[in-house]
């Protein structure tokens, strides 16, 4: 299968659609810089985020601001006003002190790879066409935060511990936006 994500390494945020999207219907008008999509309905559309219904908007979640910011290219999370602890993922109450006064803060978009591997088979539903793909734990630069992410636009053999990566966002065919990392462009 083709992997459209590999063909769009130079695209900046908001980035290319998820790979495998060529067989999924689009619920939004296509912008000019996106790869062409099939728009005919498929009998069994596959969920990409391992769920069946988008639930990222304020009707369903109190952390909808994360996704609003992500769509604008900002990578954010919550910080507790009481004890100052930085959360990942964003929370509605501080797990440490139970305080409910939280602020949205901007996270660094660059990080270094702490550990990585690749999925060479056995991917979840909706991601089978992405195989092979790289995943890893990433230490954000300048923040006390290590988080797990897809590392797109690279091969396992080309990755190494300590490699610098940067955030990119991408649109999903059902209208959602999500994030992943990719090897950093030279500064």
């Amino acid at each position: 299968m083709s992997t459209p994500s590999e063909a769009n390494t130079a695209t900046t945020t908001p980035g290319p659609a998820a790979s495998g999207s060529t067989t999924r219907p689009s619920s939004e008008a296509q912008s000019a810089d996106r790869p062409p999509r099939r728009t005919d309905p498929v009998p069994n559309p596959l969920p990409y985020l391992l769920d069946f219904y988008p639930q990222e908007d304020p009707k369903f979640t109190r952390i909808a601001p994360f996704f609003v910011a992500l769509r604008k290219g900002s990578f954010t999370t919550t910080r507790c006003d009481e004890d100052g602890s930085l959360h990942w993922p964003p929370r509605v109450a501080c797990p440490k002190c139970r305080g409910e006064k939280l602020s949205w803060v901007e996270l660094p978009k660059r990080g270094t790879v702490y550990a990585f591997s690749a999925v060479l088979g056995g991917a979840p539903l909706g991601m089978e066409e992405d195989v092979p793909f790289v995943v890893g734990l990433i230490d954000l630069q300048g923040a006390e935060l290590r988080l797990f992410s897809r590392i797109a636009h690279t091969k396992h053999e080309d990755c190494r511990i300590g490699m610098e990566v940067e955030l990119e966002t991408f649109d999903l065919p059902d209208g959602r936006v999500f994030f992943r990392f990719r090897p950093s462009a030279p500064r």
């Binding site: 690749a118 979840p124 511990i161």
Partner: protein
């Protein structure tokens, strides 16, 4: 052990493990027949409580409310406690711990435990998705992670920091497959895996090859636990629960720490040994959660069978094999038996029961075994559950 009543394991049994031409319900009846079908003085009406360890029946068998379904299939009508326990890969041990707690507290006298999972569907992606959902789905699973890449990262860091090698990991798999070779209920019964063959199998999640990973398996296992005063009604050779420990310290992978150390396991093991008034050197055999080869190596270290960082050398020196100071996974482990999530912890306890009763075939018998440890991890090794059993009360 803390203050409550003493608890005995008096019987256990298994279905065959593997890619089975059998449904969830059929596996329950197979294990039930094996576990409860030939107990001295036993009637199904004796069972006052039933605990069913089942991780993902909603997705993999399209069925919830499974505990009463299992009760019906086994002819039980529990009047004290009936419930399902879910703790992903440790769902089975979770059921045993619940039965132990209920009997110890005086809420039950005769508790049946059943662990079961049906994992092989026409679409393997269903099970892979269900495994990704064990992680924090919205933030970790969505990146495409299932178990292999997580444990691959643990292996990568352990190799970097302690010099553990792919060959040492293959030695874990070789040992456990050799034991499974003589275990008729194992998924890889009568199959041979040399180290050379294992090191040539395809990569699944680098550095883990196919032989470093346990399988998607269908299977079920049953166990009967009773209070001290009833133990000898059902058997002359009860095995006693002597201690238990558990620890949960993160869920989202942002809290996973170094990956090369599992402090949660260290804490859970210390609690299990404290409650059993034992030390690692007192254990004759251990059934530990070798979902991946690197897991067993980390488990030697964190349980305390060897110093930190020396797990690879421990298996290379044969110290976890027959004749070593602790025989690890004589059943064949998850690598050799397969890993039906809800059944695994119960199947490990059945092996311990049979080892301590000296009824297993000679090829994997731990001669003179008096004390045994069972360990399950679940999810991304974020939860660790342990039990210690002994022939002596």
């Amino acid at each position: 052990m803390s203050g409550g009543r003493r608890v005995a394991v008096v019987a256990g049994g298994l279905s065959n493990f593997g890619v089975r031409s059998a449904t969830w319900s059929e596996l329950v009846q197979e294990a039930g027949h094996s576990a409860f079908g030939a107990i001295r003085n036993f009637s199904p009406q004796d069972v006052d409580s039933l605990f069913v360890g089942a991780a993902q029946p909603e997705r993999l068998a399209f069925q919830s409310h499974v505990a009463p379904m299992a009760a019906e299939l086994l002819g039980f009508e529990p009047s004290k406690i009936i419930q399902r326990t879910e703790l992903a890969c440790a769902s089975g041990q979770s059921a045993i711990r619940s039965a132990y707690a209920a009997i110890s507290a005086g809420l039950s006298d005769v508790a049946a435990v059943l662990g079961v999972e049906k994992m092989n569907l026409p679409s393997m992606a269903e099970a892979n998705t269900s495994m990704a959902d064990v992680l924090d789905r919205s933030w970790d699973g969505v990146h495409g992670a299932t178990a292999p890449p997580f444990f691959a990262m643990c292996a990568q860091r352990h190799m970097l920091e302690y010099g553990t090698t792919a060959e040492q990991m293959a030695m874990v798999s070789e040992k456990n497959h050799r034991f499974a070779n003589s275990n008729p209920t194992a998924q890889f019964y009568s199959k041979t895996f040399s180290r050379e063959k294992l090191l040539k199998l395809p990569m699944v999640a680098p550095p883990l090859r196919l032989g470093d990973c346990s399988s998607m398996t269908d299977g079920a296992a049953g166990l009967l636990l009773v209070s001290e005063e009833l133990a000898r009604k059902y058997t002359d050779t009860p095995v006693w629960v002597r201690g238990t420990g558990q620890h949960s310290h993160f869920h989202n992978l942002s809290g996973a720490g170094s990956l090369s150390s599992w402090p949660g396991l260290r804490a859970a093991a210390q609690e299990a040994f404290r409650s059993a008034r034992m030390e690692p050197k007192d254990i004759d055999l251990a059934e530990v959660h070798d979902c991946f080869t690197i897991s067993e190596i980390l488990e030697y270290e964190e349980i305390g069978f060897c110093p930190k960082g020396k797990g690879g050398q421990f298996v290379a020196d044969g110290r976890s094999d027959l004749g070593g100071e602790v025989v690890v996974n004589p059943r064949g482990g998850l690598l050799g038996c397969g890993h039906p999530l809800g059944a695994t912890g119960v199947a490990q306890a059945v092996e311990v029961l049979q080892q301590l009763q000296a009824t297993v075939p000679a090829a994997r018998a731990v001669k003179g075994a008096e004390r045994a440890l069972v360990h399950n991890l679940s999810g991304s090794a974020n939860v660790h559950s342990l039990m210690i059993y002994a022939r002596e009360n």
